[in-house]
């Protein structure tokens, strides 16, 4: 039963990792931008949530009402103001600029919130649990997983069922021809980044409720997000969810074998997938 428990808990943890990864996957899919600052943007979402909670006394989940639009606006401005200028035939400038952004964000966190670990208090939600078939499942992990599934389904819907998603795919396919359709790619990229950071805001708040975070917490989240994206296969949103679950299960099973193995087991699972299926488990079927 302990093993079943480890697998179930790992699956639920995978939901959080999928949320870390979804924004990353979306950005790469639409504009081939590898965002090194993604982990720090997740932490930015957590800090913004913390600020709203402290200022208003709202429940952290209600803080989403403020944090999601704020992050979306930051995303649009960031893309139009800075990142669009780095995109071109050379893949190096966006890497360097987002790396620099990562450093800047971490220092801003340090200035604004000190190096002390912070956490959002979600009250009884943090400890509430339900018993299912002899397993005790936390309500927060269950809720996180449900939100992850809903977010992925929502993104999938936007991508494949709406005019905006059609525009995302067209610009991703061929930027030049997409312009001929009257699409301003700078604006489309801005909208994609806004959407990605809206998802990142959700990930950040859930992170900040689940664990404590500090100004340097972004790096590990970036790695988890990357691993989930790569395991699942680039450009496949449901694959990203499965990638997150595989990473989560590997970590909890690893921790079950030996508590010191938690992170290592996740990375090993990633390397094994990469060695066997370099394109990930479910790469987008190229059209």
């Amino acid at each position: 039963m302990d093993w079943v428990n480890a697998i179930v808990q790992g699956t639920l943890l995978g939901g959080l990792y999928a949320l870390f990864a979804a924004g990353l996957s979306l950005i790469f899919g639409v504009m081939r931008l590898v965002n090194i600052a993604h982990g720090d943007l997740i932490v930015l979402g957590a800090y913004l949530g913390l600020t709203v909670v402290m200022a208003t006394g709202l429940h952290p989940l209600l803080a989403l009402v403020f944090v999601v639009p704020t992050m979306a606006a930051i995303g649009y401005v960031l893309q139009r103001g800075i990142l669009n200028k780095t995109l071109g035939d050379d893949i190096l400038p966006p890497l360097l600029v987002t790396f620099g952004l990562s450093v800047i964000l971490q220092n801003l966190f340090l200035e604004g919130y000190t190096a002390d670990p912070q956490k959002m208090n979600a009250g009884v939600l943090e400890t509430a649990s339900v018993s299912v078939g002899g397993l005790s499942l936390g309500v927060l992990p269950l809720l996180t997983f449900a939100i992850a599934v809903a977010v992925i389904a929502g993104l999938q819907f936007i991508f494949y069922r709406t005019p905006l998603g059609r525009s995302f795919r067209a610009v991703s396919d061929n930027q030049e021809i997409a312009q001929l359709m009257g699409l301003n790619k700078r604006h489309i990229f801005g909208l994609a980044m806004a959407l990605a950071l809206a998802v990142t805001a959700i990930a950040g708040i859930l992170l900040g409720i689940r664990t404590s975070f500090d100004p340097t917490a972004g790096g590990a989240r970036l790695i988890y997000g990357f691993e989930a994206v790569i395991i699942g296969g680039l450009g496949n949103l449901w694959g990203t969810l499965i990638g997150g679950v595989i990473l989560g299960v590997a970590q909890t099973v690893g921790a079950k074998i030996d508590p010191g193995w938690q992170l290592l087991a996740g990375h090993i699972a990633f390397l094994v997938v990469l060695a066997i299926r370099p394109n990930g488990l479910f790469p987008r079927v190229s059209g």
Partner: protein, 235 residues
């Protein structure tokens, strides 16, 4: 004489250090079908790229309905009513046939063209509307590319080598559809390697040679000798 729908004034275009167009002058009026012929590398595609905004020029070098558009972006020019059917079709592979057409219509310009009108022009596309665009034959892909451009209800449509790489029977069926497209007053520029095809569908013809206009005149009564002189630069 009414204002020309399109005029090029000493149009120059460069790819880095390489100059592709050397002061091209061109004028066309509403409802006209213009053919542009010339050997490979004469600058035909470059000319269309400049008009559609894929290449940036000095503003006054390209004037559309009295507005200098040479320096505008491609999406701004598309919104003004110029559509390009690009060389090599260039459909969006991750979009279905219908989605390729719909994205062509996202500008919502008023006019006769809609999804159903395109399906009426090319009935085979209606059958295959849900297919990925990559699953179609070359000729069907060309129909999608033309339909996609029509969906924006352009006032001026630019065709770049629409017969390239297609079987003669397919080329014929596509050219047979052309009068139905340009018949109701739409202006068109047709870039074509096949000179007799180009002459048969156009009102006037421009011949480019090494980035310059080497011949210009009505398609109906232009002599073969004049064309081959303008095409190859030999008497």
């Amino acid at each position: 004489m009414p204002e020309p729908i399109l005029s090029l004034n000493r149009l120059e275009a460069h790819y880095g250090d390489f100059q592709a167009l050397y002061g091209v002058d061109l004028e066309m009026h509403e409802g006209e079908v213009l053919a542009i012929i010339g050997a490979n590398g004469a600058g035909k595609t470059t000319l269309l790229r400049s008009v559609s905004g894929l290449m940036s020029n000095a503003a006054a070098q390209v004037v559309y309905c009295g507005t200098p558009i040479g320096a505008l972006r491609a999406d701004e020019i598309a919104a003004l009513g110029i559509a390009l059917v690009p060389e090599g079709r260039q459909l969006f592979p991750s979009l279905s046939v219908e989605e390729n057409l719909l994205i062509g219509g996202r500008l919502n310009r008023e006019g006769p063209w809609s999804l159903s009108a395109v399906f009426e022009l090319f009935p085979v596309l209606k059958e295959r509307r849900a297919y990925p665009s990559t699953a179609l034959s070359g000729g069907q892909q060309q129909m999608v590319a033309i339909g996609r451009a029509l969906m924006s209800n352009p006032d001026l449509i630019l065709f770049d080598e629409i017969s390239l790489g297609l079987a003669p029977v397919i080329i014929k069926s596509i050219y047979d559809a052309l009068p139905g497209i340009v018949g109701d007053g739409m202006s068109a520029v047709i870039v074509e390697q096949d000179i007799s095809k180009a002459l048969s569908v156009s009102d006037r013809v421009y011949c480019l040679m090494e980035g310059r206009v080497s011949l210009e005149g009505p398609s109906a009564n232009i002599s073969r000798e004049a064309i081959s002189r303008a095409y190859f630069g030999v008497a």
